[in-house]
């Protein structure tokens, strides 16, 4: 019972952009808390930031930027009707996502191994600002990691559709929207990375 049957790619893209605004605002709440608590606990935030491994953070930034490049090249490939190459590039994107999550996993488990996690005894006995810092760190990177998983799943589904020829070269809107979402995931990380790993 689908009516109004004509496809409106512009509308679909407008809708996606509106949805991306909401995602930015979702993370905005966390950045707001970061700003307020940074002002209140500058020394403890600096102490917490030093405990994060900037090498791993940098590696993850490079991985995500590469994945975004692959996703964008995937769109161009399909525009040129090279669907095999598009699928390959999308798979590369998903592989990058897996790499990002693997590094995140080792980062988190090392921290948790040291007794640094929300509600841990070590954080409870330490200075309050440090506990706040790591709670925010886990919430922010956790919710971002969730977005990485959702985005990778979305791209996997889309690449299957591309592989089966369900997305024609003249109607890319699903692929474009999927990659738009992926770029957002990347963009949010570009703000998380300096705030937690570099500036403190």
């Amino acid at each position: 019972m689908e009516h109004g049957g004509h496809r409106d790619g512009f509308a679909a893209k407008l809708g996606m952009w509106l949805f991306l605004f909401t995602e930015i605002l979702l993370f905005g709440g966390l950045f707001l808390l970061y700003a307020v608590y940074l002002r209140r606990y500058p020394a403890e935030f600096a102490m917490g930031g030093r405990q994060l491994d900037w090498m791993l953070g940098t590696a993850n930034s490079v991985i995500l930027l590469t994945s975004s490049l692959c996703a964008a090249m995937g769109v161009t490939a399909l525009q040129r009707d090279e669907s095999r190459r598009a699928v390959g590039l999308l798979c590369a994107t998903i592989l990058c996502a897996a790499g990002f999550l693997a590094i995140k996993y080792f980062e988190w488990s090392a921290k948790i191994g040291h007794g640094v996690y929300p509600g841990s005894e070590r954080l409870k006995s330490g200075p309050a600002g440090e506990s706040i810092f790591f709670s925010l760190y886990y919430m922010t990177t956790g919710i971002h990691g969730l977005h990485v998983i959702i985005g990778a799943g979305l791209l996997a589904w889309i690449s299957v559709r591309v592989g089966f020829g369900k997305i024609p070269a003249d109607n890319l809107i699903l692929l474009e929207n999927g990659t738009l979402y992926w770029h957002l995931v990347d963009l949010v990380w570009i703000f998380i990375f300096p705030l937690y790993y570099l500036v403190l």
Binding site: M1, L25, F27, G29, L32, S131, M139
Partner: protein
């Protein structure tokens, strides 16, 4: 179009699926609108019953029918039901879906399947929230605001209730982006922004608030859940967190949410008043502009909920000033409605009675809002029954009465049958009387110092509390009468055909009930939404 053909084409006779699945899997905006109408009004009636029970408890000092714990759980449930299950999704979900696509000359919304998903998410969220009553530590007792630190420490099942609200927020975001895209992309030829009906304008402004404010609620609720499940301590002063930050984040969403509730109501009133005054709306541009202005300014005033929470004096001053600024676009609307009435040929039928009482009740509630918005007077009445009276005047007297006006105005068009006029007017009279007895008593009680959400009170408050409870019975009688009259009329009443009230917006130009595709051929709009002369010539 002859009558048999009309019935054939009607969206009620849409073939394809049958039975219940023809509704809950339909992507037709009219069917989704009716799904929203049934579910939101169902929850509204449940909320009314909860309110009645609360009023019986408060009828006399001390214990009347329940213990304090039950009382806490019931006022929480009353608030959550009314706000998240009725008033937020009600107008956009029910009348936005039913009317807006037709008003702009479209055959459906931009994303029909997403629209259906919105309703499903809403129902899923409602069920999750309601299941919190019977699972875990029992019904939440925090009030609908879920204030920390109590909400992170109470043993009741706050986590599940909060998750339900989170899911409902998702539904609101999807509706918002659907409506914005629809209004941008699917307007018929000739439907310029200057010819957009004011109800659609108000939905447009509402949709922006839904998109920009709801994500903040989402993250806030996620943080409350993390606080309860993981012990993050972000709002726990004992661990370096700040409960005030919760209040900020919560009201950054929840104050704009007040405008999600009231803006579409104002839009419906702006459509109804010209029709029953037989006169073009006064100040079309200013009413449209003021919707957007309210949406914008309303996003910057959240701090006025926190004057006594321990903000700096400077912040209090700024938020107080901004609050007064929101009063300007609201007053613009009221003055324009009154000017539309001036020298109009007013016909006092049911939709108009509800619309007129909306103006009065909303003005009383709105002016009381200024008393709360001024820091000095707020300190006196903060967290008293005055606040309860105030927001019931704007939310129930405002949005609620506008919703009833919209039901009497638009539903006959979609059902093809009409309610009886006389019972509708008697029901209105009962509701208006009961409403004022109930909530004006609360305002006086608050002025005299009775706090809100308290189970017990001093003997000197007994008389007015008794009056309020009696008022609640009159009000509930009116509500019951209205619904009985509407349901029996819309199902079995006299046929409703054509355009008996002479509306000039597009929904009155299509067949009754509207066909599945809304318009037989794509409409071309040649006149404004309140140009009754041009509409009559056609």
């Amino acid at each position: 179009m002859d009558k048999a053909a009309t019935a054939q084409n009607s969206f009620w006779n849409d073939t394809g699926r049958s039975g219940l699945t023809a509704w809950i899997f339909s992507t037709d905006h009219k069917r989704i609108g009716l799904l929203y109408l049934y579910s939101t009004t169902g929850f509204f009636l449940a909320g009314v019953i909860l309110g009645l029970i609360l009023r019986i408890e408060l009828m006399a000092p001390g214990r009347t029918i329940m213990d304090p714990r039950t009382y806490n759980a019931l006022f929480t449930l009353h608030g959550v039901t009314m706000i998240f299950l009725f008033i937020l999704p009600g107008f956009p979900g029910a009348f936005g879906n039913l009317v807006m696509p037709i008003q702009i000359g479209a055959s459906d919304v931009a994303f029909p399947r997403l629209n259906l998903l919105s309703w499903w998410l809403y129902m899923a969220g409602a069920l999750i929230a309601l299941s919190s009553l019977f699972t875990g530590g029992g019904p939440p007792d925090t009030g609908w605001t879920f204030y920390v630190p109590f909400s992170t420490r109470t043993g009741t099942n706050v986590t599940l209730a909060v998750f339900g609200v989170f899911v409902i927020g998702f539904s609101a975001i999807l509706t918002g982006m659907n409506f914005i895209t629809t209004i941008h992309r699917l307007r018929a030829k000739g439907m310029t922004w200057g010819r957009l009906p004011l109800f659609t304008w108000s939905l447009y402004a509402t949709a922006w608030v839904q998109i920009l404010a709801t994500p903040i609620l989402a993250i806030t609720l996620l943080l409350v859940m993390a606080e309860r499940l993981l012990g993050t301590g972000l709002f726990d002063p004992g661990r370096g967190g700040d409960p005030l930050m919760y209040q900020h984040l919560f009201w950054i969403y929840s104050h704009p949410a007040v405008y999600i509730m009231i803006l579409p109501a104002m839009g419906a009133i702006s459509d109804i008043i010209p029709v029953f005054s037989r006169k073009p709306v006064f100040g079309y541009k200013m009413i449209a502009f003021s919707s957007v202005a309210i949406a914008a300014a309303g996003s910057l005033v959240w701090g006025h909920h926190m004057f006594t929470s321990g903000m700096s004096d400077r912040a209090v001053l700024v938020f107080s000033l901004l609050t007064f600024i929101v009063a300007i676009p609201s007053a613009i609307k009221v003055f324009n409605w009154v000017s539309t009435l001036y020298k109009g040929s007013i016909s006092l039928e049911a939709p108009m009675l509800f619309a007129l009482s909306f103006i009065l009740l909303f003005s009383i509630g709105g002016l009381a809002g200024l008393i709360l918005g001024a820091a000095a007077t707020d300190v006196h009445v903060h967290d008293t029954q005055f606040v309860v009276g105030h927001f019931h005047y704007v939310m129930f007297g405002g949005t609620g009465f506008a919703f009833f006006a919209a039901m009497h105005y638009w539903l006959p068009k979609f059902f093809g049958r009409r309610y009886r006029e006389k019972p509708a007017i008697i029901a209105w009279g009962l509701m208006f009387t009961g409403f004022n007895i109930l909530y004006f008593s609360m305002k006086i009680l608050g002025m005299r110092g009775m706090p809100r959400r308290y189970y017990d009170y001093l003997p000197e408050f007994a008389d007015l509390n008794l009056a309020a409870t009696v008022g609640s019975w009159i009000l509930a009688l009116g509500v019951a009468m209205m619904f009985v009259n509407l349901v029996s009329g819309l199902l079995r009443g006299e046929p409703f055909t054509g355009n008996p009230w002479g509306g000039a917006t597009l929904e009155w130009s299509v067949a009754t009930p509207p066909p599945t595709e809304n318009f037989a051929e794509e409409p071309v709009v040649t006149h404004g939404p309140y140009d009754f002369t041009a509409a009559g010539r056609r």
